[in-house]
C-alpha cells in the first residue's frame, strides 16, 4: 500500500468538494420541485466514497445504494449525466427512467444504485465471482448502510463471499440511522464491524469522516482481496447531515448530536483544513478549486435543463417488447 502523494490528496479534496456541492445543488433542485421522487443526500458521508474509491482502480466494481450520488462521483461518474437523470431527462444515465436511486455506469464499473435496502449486497457476490473467475486481480466494493446490515441478505452474502474467498470489500456506512431507528438500537452487537467474525473475515471499525483513514483501511482490504484472501468488512462511521431525505425534519435526532457532527466531523471542512495546515493547498488555490467545482455543478444543471425529455412515442413503442 503506497503512501498518499500530494497530488492524490488534492485530488481527494477535489472529489470531496464535488460531492458536497453536487448534493447541495440537488437539494435546492428538490426543494424547487425540479427533482422529484426520492432523494437521499450524501452530505456528511463524502469521505467514505472518496477514500474508498481512491483505493481502487477504474476497472474495479462498485455496488451502490439509494444514497449513492457520492459513490458515483467518487468512481468517476459524469456530473452531466447524473444531473440529467435526476431531472428525468433522456440524456441522463438511465434515460430518465430511473432517477436518483438507480444510477449505473458500466464503463466505470458502477453496477447500480438501488432502491431496495440491501438489494446490492447479494449482487456484490456475483460481481465477486466475476472478479475471481477473470483472474485479472479486480475487486468489488459493496456499499450499504447500518440499516441494511440487519437484513437477511447481508448475512447470506457475507457468508457466501467468505466461503468462496471472493475479492469483495464490504463497506458499511454507519450514519447512525436507518430512516428513524438509531443503529445503537437496531444492531444487536456493539459494532457492525464485529459481525465480520461470524463470517471469518477481517473486520474494521473506522472514522468514516476522515478520507485518509478510509483510504488506508480500504487499501489494506483491497490488497488482501487481490491476493486471493477473500472479503473484508469495514464499518465506516460517518453522519448524515440532512434528514433521511430533504423533507424529513429528522425529529428523532438530538440537536446536539447533529451539531456535534456538523461542527467537529465535517469531512470536507476538516480535510480542507488539514491540507491547508500541511501546506499542501493554499487558501487561494482552495478558493479557485471551489469556484471551478461550483461552475462544473452549475453547468451540469444547465446541461440537464437544456436536455430533451424522453419521447413518449418511443416509450410506448418500447413497452411492447418488455
Amino acid at each position: 500500500m503506497s503512501k498518499l502523494k500530494k497530488q492524490e490528496k488534492i485530488s481527494m479534496l477535489r472529489t470531496l468538494l464535488t460531492i458536497r456541492k453536487f448534493e447541495e445543488k440537488t437539494i435546492q433542485l428538490y426543494q424547487t420541485a425540479k427533482i422529484w421522487g426520492y432523494l437521499h443526500p450524501y452530505l456528511g458521508q463524502e469521505a467514505v466514497a472518496v477514500g474508498s474509491c481512491a483505493a481502487i482502480e477504474k476497472d474495479d466494481y462498485i455496488v451502490s445504494t439509494h444514497r449513492g450520488h457520492g459513490h458515483c462521483i467518487a468512481k468517476g461518474g459524469d456530473l452531466n449525466k447524473m444531473m440529467a437523470e435526476l431531472l428525468g431527462k433522456s440524456t441522463g444515465y438511465c434515460k430518465g427512467r430511473g432517477g436518483s436511486m438507480h444510477i449505473a455506469d458500466t464503463e466505470l464499473g458502477i453496477l447500480g444504485a438501488n432502491g431496495i435496502v440491501g438489494g446490492g449486497i447479494p449482487i456484490s457476490v456475483g460481481a465477486g465471482f466475476s472478479c475471481k473467475f477473470d483472474k485479472k486481480g479486480r475487486v468489488t466494493i459493496c456499499y450499504f448502510g447500518d440499516g441494511a446490515s440487519n437484513n437477511g441478505v447481508f448475512h447470506e452474502s457475507l457468508n457466501m463471499a467468505s466461503i468462496f474467498k471472493l475479492p469483495i470489500i464490504y463497506i458499511c456506512e454507519n450514519n447512525l440511522y436507518g430512516i428513524s431507528m438509531c443503529s445503537k438500537d437496531s444492531v444487536a452487537c456493539k459494532n457492525i464491524g464485529d459481525r465480520a467474525s461470524a463470517y471469518a473475515m477481517p473486520g474494521y471499525v473506522i472514522d468514516g469522516s476522515d478520507p485518509e483513514e478510509v483510504y488506508k483501511t480500504v487499501s489494506g482490504a483491497v490488497e488482501h482481496a487481490r491476493k486471493g484472501n477473500g472479503p473484508s468488512l469495514i464499518e465506516a462511521q460517518a453522519y448524515r447531515f440532512t434528514g433521511h431525505h430533504p423533507n424529513d425534519p429528522a425529529e428523532y435526532r438530538e440537536k446536539q448530536e447533529v451539531e456535534y457532527h456538523k461542527t467537529e466531523k465535517d469531512p470536507v471542512h476538516n480535510y480542507s483544513k488539514k491540507l491547508a495546515d500541511e501546506k499542501i493547498i493554499g487558501s487561494e488555490e482552495l478558493e479557485a478549486m471551489e469556484k471551478e467545482i461550483q461552475k462544473m455543478v452549475d453547468s451540469s444543471v444547465e446541461f440537464a435543463e437544456k436536455s430533451p425529455e424522453p419521447e413518449l412515442d418511443k416509450f410506448l413503442e418500447e413497452v411492447k417488447n418488455i
Binding site: R97, I116, A148, G152, M181, F315
Partner: protein, 323 residues
Amino acid sequence: MREIEYREALREAVIEEMDRDPKVFLVGEDIGVYGGAFRVYKGLLDKYGPDRVVNTPISEIAIIGAGIGAALTGYRPISEIMFIDFATLAMDQIVNQAAKIRYMTGDSLNVPLVIRTQGGAGRGVAAQHSQSLEAWFYHVPGLKVVMPATPYDAKGLLKTAVREDNPVMFIEQKMIYLNKGEVPEEEYLIPFGKADIKKEGSDVTIFAYSAMVFEALKAAEQLEKEGISCEVFDPRTLVPLDEEALIESVKKTSRLVVVSEACQRGSIASDISAKVTDAAFEWLDAPIKVVAGLNTPIPYNSTLEKASTPDKKDIIDAVKGLL
C-alpha cells in the same frame, strides 16, 4: 358528517381495535417516533408504548415472521411492510407460511395476521417503489386481499381485518393517504366480500378498486354530461370477491370495463374479465374491455410515469368504445 383523511381513518381503526383487544399490536419499520412512512401511526408509540408499537430494524422477513408466530400463539398483530415492493423479500413467510399454515395443519392452527402495506405509482419514486403487486397475493390460496379506496372503507375494513382469523393483505395506495372523506364518529365494520356501488348507472359498469375508483368516478362524471350513464363498482375486497353483486350490475348494464393500475399480464383485471365472461356471457352486449397499466417497470420521468397507468381519459375512451 365529519370528513377525515384516509390515513386518519386507518389510525382510528387501529386505535379502536387496540383499545378493544389487548392482543392487538403493531410491528414494522419506522413506526415508532416516526409514525410510519406515511404517518398512519403518528402518536401511537406515546399512546401504547414500545411493546404494542414494535419498531423494528429493516428486516422484512422477521417482521412478517414475528406477525405469524405471535398470531399462532394468541395475538392479533398488524405487520407493516412499508412498500409492497419490499414484500418480495418476505414472500416465503407470506406465501409458504402465513397463507398455508391453517390448511396444512388441518385447521388446528390459524394465523390472524394483518399485513398492512401500500403500492402504486404517482410519486416519481420509480420502478422499485411504485409497483402494484396485488395479483401476486390474489393468486395465492389462503390470503385475503383488501384494497379500500375511501377513508370510510379503509376504517371499516381494517377493523374487520383485525378481527379476521386468517391472514389479510391490506393494501393501500400511496397517492390517497391525504384524501378526505366522510367517516362517522360511531363505530362500524364493513364485512369482507361486500362490494360498494360508488355511483349507480345503467349503460356501462366500470369495475375499479383502490385509487382507480377515483379515476372511474371522474370518467363517469364526464360521461354523464354526455348522456352516458356509468355504474362505478368498487369490490373493496378482491379476496373474497363479491361476484354476485358484480354479475348483478353487469346484468343491468350489459357492458363492463375493468380498470386496474397494475399491468394487465396475469392481472386481477384479466381474471375478473374471465369470471364475468363465464358467468354472464349471455347478458353482455359488447366484449369486456380491460383498462390496465402498461407492461413496464414504472419510469421515473413524470410524463412517462403518468402514461404508464390508466387515467380518466383511458376509461372514457374504453367506455365509448363499447357503445
